[in-house]
Symmetry: C3
Subunit: 347 residues, 3 copies
């Protein structure tokens, strides 16, 4: 069983597996809160009739809400003593999740890389979430720097630390259900920009910004049952180098994804997160902005295409402002490489 | 399709119609959040058995939550580039909305009045919300000052800018469903003050006050999918004349309505908003108080009567305090003229 | 009917009974908000399959959410003019409450003790909550200091002010439904520490802390429809001795209970609150920590045992830190004596 003060780097072994605690039934309340916390406007997650037009039996739960709830379950066993969450790979959204479904999560240790500082190491893990029928709904790799109990020497990373593809293979992505007519989709999303309209390398500077306050991120993180101390305990954080609470990086992803609706209105489902990293910490009071870049695109079927997108998040510098060219890079908080499903014009 | 930076005054034409994006299914979560954000205690919206006693198949959704969600849909097309929301007229709550219903909204441009400043103009619109059966649930007129792309001369208002009645005609109001016994109603609301007990011109100084914090109004406004920049983007607002984010005026209405429960406990349903205006901006940290005045009353049937009420909202000055007489007027933030349905004593 | 400015001490009489206003149907939204506001991880309240394994037809509503909602109903009639909530006794959680149930509350005045100051008195009450089938779900005694309208002399307490047992009798506690296998429970809660593993007098210093912000406690208190002015009205509180809003003591209980999950993961249900008091006020910005002590234990049946626990809450001093020994006592905000049901190892 988990030690009272959590696992440290030297407690892990490659191949070790964890069944994480606290299964979680997703309710209408979770989805409403997610909307209030992000400002999401994706009609797939807020209109039952629209979801049914696309072949879903009911509104599916927002992909990122599923991610955050599943991720939260892994925190007590994997990142309770984390220094920082370093990266993600091979994250696949395998099956839709519906209100009433119950999620649980498992993790296997893939690799361990002791840092040369001797004070910490990087733990590479594969986590997976399942519904109440034991069907896989989501799987992802992440690597996280974790404190050691006692100082020790560094070492080179083993194979489990490096074997991640640059992106999720297109063949491994979830298949679309049913296509709705383009006009039907456009009426719901407010946009008649479809898959054909996004050119490779195109950049979209999303027009809106959103300021995060303290309660915004702590409510979210408590909803996700994520217990990482850095988000909640001001007294503890006052003696950290930040001097204040850190916003959960996943909430930054959610806000940037919601901001990207203006310009990517028809990017209805996330199929995969190919990779991603948090480049700077975000704090209460910061205003987030988002920019997307089209990294690639391919047809999926006669009615749908995939877009591989880079989603960049910035704090306190508006991509529409003159200062963005000078300060944008320094204010970048997020770089996320992900793949979405989008209807084709004729769809 | 909507320009990336939204519509400006000169983009509108009288008679132009908009089908707004993002249909929205209302859930138990939305209603619980509305309660947590307003402190509402109207039993019609929080007690299923009470709603059924009044002839509803289930708890109807709070009238103002319906208004805010429908209003939010119009923002991207109508008030994305607004200077200020100036007024409302002929707002009728036509049909109850239930959990599980899906709302969409449409707007027609009624009139356009170029301002003499040359920098903006006033857009007069009729917006309407429909449920998933295409039944009208709510309709209202509002006028909003919108920026111009380029300066131009002013002009006199056309007919579409002026043809609004002072109040909604009594014959146009929604009819009550079923009456419950007065004692049944009084037990649920805690008040045996019924329609007969409110004299014309009577003033009610509601005893409670409520302070709004930053997350209170931003959560609400995100829940309503209202994207007006002034509520969310602190970085942007720091360079405005306010220097900070503005509270969505609709949330001020909701808070004042909830505060008015103490004194108007049996004002169960809003039938119409005859008119209204926001007189001063409200910011996080402000404490709101409410005063009601009875503007008129008429019987509806043997069991119900209508009250036409003025609802005044004040910030940072308690109507029960001595300073209210000196400072109340200057601190007034809201003047709303609306009509409610109330059971009669014998009801 | 209740006076517009509420009841004062001299308005009450021993034996007087109140049917409190505003019946309340509990929804999925209430439960999700409770989770977001507390960070609760008890699987009994967030996993439908787990609740069913324990013999419940569905997830029961968190015991403390039931308490807060029922308590909130009593505020307008009992503690609108309260100086302070002094203590609790004989609080029994009689029946589980489910989503869709509608709660109402009643209170009887047990005793009245005029304070020697002449400005206030202590009101002793028994409150009870019922579901829509008029089944008792919760009952408790509390005593609360209430302002007088006019000064008057003090007096000795009558019998109704003193006749409270030190703890709820074991025979009066709710019986468990069905037992699940220990491994099943441990998988859900993440802990294989069962009833046998808690020794009398054992102390558990729960590892996590949680900072409360202004919106955290006001959202909670509005969700509970608790209208006590001290939590909401900053303008009013600025002229109090605190200079700011007070956090509802019940929310402090909820946060400390949620923090106690790490170390008491299998304390699935609260059977009774034997007594409790709020020792210091809590304000926005305070970070709460929790310590539990085992006060007693007894077997309930072959599969379950009861633990009587003291739950202590502290603000701004971490029980794991050196300063706790010096400052803990002064920073104590809560002392709650309660009884939980816990599976036995073989369960």
């Amino acid at each position: 069983m988990r030690p009272a003060n959590g696992y440290f780097f030297e407690d892990y072994a490659v191949g070790q597996a964890f069944d994480h605690a606290v299964p979680r039934t997703i309710t209408q309340g979770d989805c409403a809160l997610y909307q209030a916390l992000t400002g999401s406007r994706n009609p797939l997650h807020c209109s039952e009739p629209f979801a049914q037009l696309l072949g879903y039996p009911a509104m599916p739960v927002d992909d990122l809400l599923v991610f955050h709830i599943a991720f939260g379950k892994t925190v007590p066993d994997i990142s309770w003593n984390a220094v920082a969450n370093l990266g993600y790979a091979d994250c696949r959204f395998v099956r839709p999740v519906f209100i009433g479904d119950t999620l649980r999560a498992q993790t296997t240790i893939l690799g361990l890389k002791p840092n040369s500082s001797g004070k910490s190491g990087v733990v590479y893990v594969r986590s997976s979430a399942y519904n109440q029928r034991d069907e896989l709904v989501l799987t992802w790799v992440r690597w996280v720097m974790v404190h050691r109990r006692a100082a020790a020497g560094g070492a080179a990373p083993g194979e489990g630390c490096t074997a991640f593809a640059d992106s999720v293979d297109a063949g491994a992505l979830r298949k679309p259900l049913k296509a709705a007519a383009g006009t039907t989709v456009a009426r719901a999303t407010g946009s008649d920009r479809f898959w054909e309209d996004y050119a490779a390398d195109a950049e979209i500077r999303h027009p809106a910004g959103m300021t995060l306050d303290e309660t915004d991120h702590t409510l979210a993180t408590k909803l996700y049952q994520n217990t990482a101390r850095v988000h909640f305990d001001l007294k503890h954080m006052q003696s950290s180098r930040f001097g204040k609470r850190l916003v959960y990086g996943g909430q930054v992803i959610s806000i940037c994804r919601a901001l990207s609706f203006d310009g990517l209105e028809n990017a209805l489902s996330i199929l995969a997160i190919n990779g991603g990293s948090h480049l700077n910490p975000t704090f209460a009071g910061d205003t987030l902005y988002a920019v997307s870049r089209v990294l690639g695109k391919w047809p999926v079927d006669a009615h749908h295409g995939a877009l591989r997108l880079a989603l960049f998040g910035y704090k306190n510098v508006d991509p529409a402002s003159a200062e963005f060219n000078d300060n944008g890079e320094a204010q970048k908080v997020l770089s996320l490489d992900y793949t979405v499903l989008m209807p084709r014009r004729g769809g």
